[in-house]
Symmetry: C2
Subunit: 355 residues, 2 copies
């Protein structure tokens, strides 16, 4: 296939290797892997997990749950605070598949009590420090309250406590991630210990790719839900969660203009393809992606000193050292390793090339 | 229609008023309005311009040109450096409609000489200071070179010089915008004066919404190509290019969780809906959107002190003062005025509600 427009190239071999590594890890530490499919949002890629007997998945919206249910997945956790406005769709799913939802307030559980029509698994969302959402782990009073409501809601099967230690994304070293992870584990296990006598089958489910990739201690944890690891990206590389070699997606972009006086090359590839996610590199420069040479759909390590310095709707500006500048010609295809592969894939999912 | 998921509400009345204002301005200053359709990317919304006898439009990609050509528009400028990889599609369009392309290098013109099959308008892209792309306005040698190549390319009808003073987006006051605008005008008119004896029909085309919205001097300019003005957004408001009342789009988002201890409300609405574009407000706080109450598809001025402070793939975190916090309940719909409406609309274009 001739690439004429920005196209997301997915390296199948790297994805399969990333999947295998995470599957092996989950087996080694005896935790169930329930991969998050929000990263790829693709039935084709989802099937790659089936070779490893993965039957349960995570998604981040009711629409995604519907999509994957329609594509044969029948055990799905929607890892997003239950949106009561979508109760109709949730009921339609719950009758068809093993569905799990998450909640953190008595209001939501009360709503479910009167509106949930079919048996559904329910997790309480716990905030172990990311402060995005969830009940603060120490707030036992609130956990008690919600659990008391759950008791009165026969359609909910209480599954346990779920968290996403998203603050690991801000970590700069493996040690910082380890601190966050140990803290999460401690807080979650405290909850498990407290309620296990009443709720015999309580599970603990954790989610973030940095912790799942780097940590070796999963004491008390029953389930991990990483998603990004299938593709990884520059952000994960900077956190230390992956090597550059493990990044499995690159946006292929045509070169449309060159500016010798600034060592800048303009590519067809902008915010509507990559997303505006950025990161500061080690020299504290804002970057929107690293640059790789693409050869027959494969790429090597990034070109040293080259990066995407700015993007607008359709344009990307690439900074590139002298010695590479002249080699690149108008109409060439340049590969960009994205900063956040979930967002890039979300924008590009209708134009991917699996190699 | 019941809103269950993030939905982009487009206020038709505000859009029509924004269109009318820009049309009137273009007539007053005797410049042709060739609106940029990359903002809305919609055939339905595009038709709103037809009542004002607008027949020529701008787009930012060959795909968009194809889409609007298929929807009855037959005079289209693709305001993006010509991507030689899309020559086949360009040739298909050029036979069907009056197509204009832009270029800035002899390499591109040489390529067109051998590959362009049908008469096509061509602009030289000039950089008046934004330094995204284009020939630096003072680089007469390069303009000469490209024009000499154009002479040898009988399929290209040279139309003139086109620029996008994108550096106006960084301006903080009307005075700064005026400086940028005057400088652009001076540079472009110098080029027009230099070449008008040889190329009798040379036109000057400028593009950015801040200058087109705020400036009153269009001396020598033949055409303006603003796009964002149909919707405007928080970025334009901060630049001073529009009032809050003129912002014509709001993302309607369900409330899914509340955190009293932090005065934060979690909405279903994240980076895959709004985009990760942000701005620093007057208190130097990073914001991803302002918050409005939505009532029957309409909204008033933003809630003072409320803003989106953080977004991840599907979650948005809204900061909200005490007195509004209690009023908002789970399942309510909250409106978000986006920072950059072009990017939000690009993400949401398949789920809009025109009110």
């Amino acid at each position: 296939m001739k690439i004429t427009q920005p196209t997301l190239i997915i390296d199948r071999e790297k994805c399969l290797s990333n999947i295998k590594k995470m599957v092996n890890k989950s087996r080694k530490y005896k935790v169930k892997l329930r991969p998050h499919f929000k990263t790829h949002q693709s039935a084709v890629i989802g099937n790659w997990f089936k070779n490893h007997s993965i039957a349960s998945i995570t998604v981040s919206s009711v629409s995604m749950a519907k999509y994957f249910a329609d594509n044969g997945w029948n055990n799905i956790t929607i890892a997003f605070p239950l949106n009561i406005r979508e109760i109709e769709e949730i009921n339609k799913l719950a009758v068809k598949i093993n569905l799990n939802v998450i909640f953190e307030s008595t209001e939501t559980v009360n709503f479910l009590k009167t509106h949930l029509l079919h048996r559904t698994g329910g997790y309480i969302k716990i905030d172990t420090g990311s402060h995005r959402t969830g009940i603060i782990a120490e707030n036992i009073k609130q956990v008690d309250k919600v659990l008391n409501q759950v008791k009165n809601c026969p359609k909910i099967t209480f599954k346990g406590f779920i968290t996403h230690a998203g603050h690991s994304y801000q970590a700069k070293t493996k040690e910082e991630i380890a601190l966050i992870h140990r803290d999460s584990l401690k807080k979650l296990n405290r909850l498990k210990d407290r309620y296990i006598n009443v709720w015999k089958n309580i599970e603990l489910s954790i989610g973030d790719t940095p912790c799942c990739s780097l940590m070796e201690d999963f004491s008390g944890i029953d389930e991990i839900r990483p998603g990004n690891f299938i593709f990884y990206d520059i952000m994960q590389y900077h956190i230390g969660a992956c090597s550059l070699d493990e990044i499995a997606v690159a946006l292929a972009c045509p070169v449309v203009a060159k500016h010798k006086e600034r060592n800048e090359i303009i590519i067809y590839g902008g915010a509507v393809h990559l997303s505006k996610e950025y990161i500061y590199n080690k020299d504290n420069i804002k970057i929107f992606g690293y640059v790789v040479e693409i050869n027959k759909g494969k790429w090597n390590t990034p070109i040293e000193g080259a990066y995407i310095s700015s993007i607008s709707q359709e344009h990307g500006i690439m900074k590139i050292p002298d010695k590479y500048f002249e080699k690149i010609r108008l109409g060439d295809i340049i590969g960009i390793l994205p900063v956040h592969s979930c967002l890039t894939n979300n924008l590009m999912k209708s134009r991917v090339l699996i190699m």
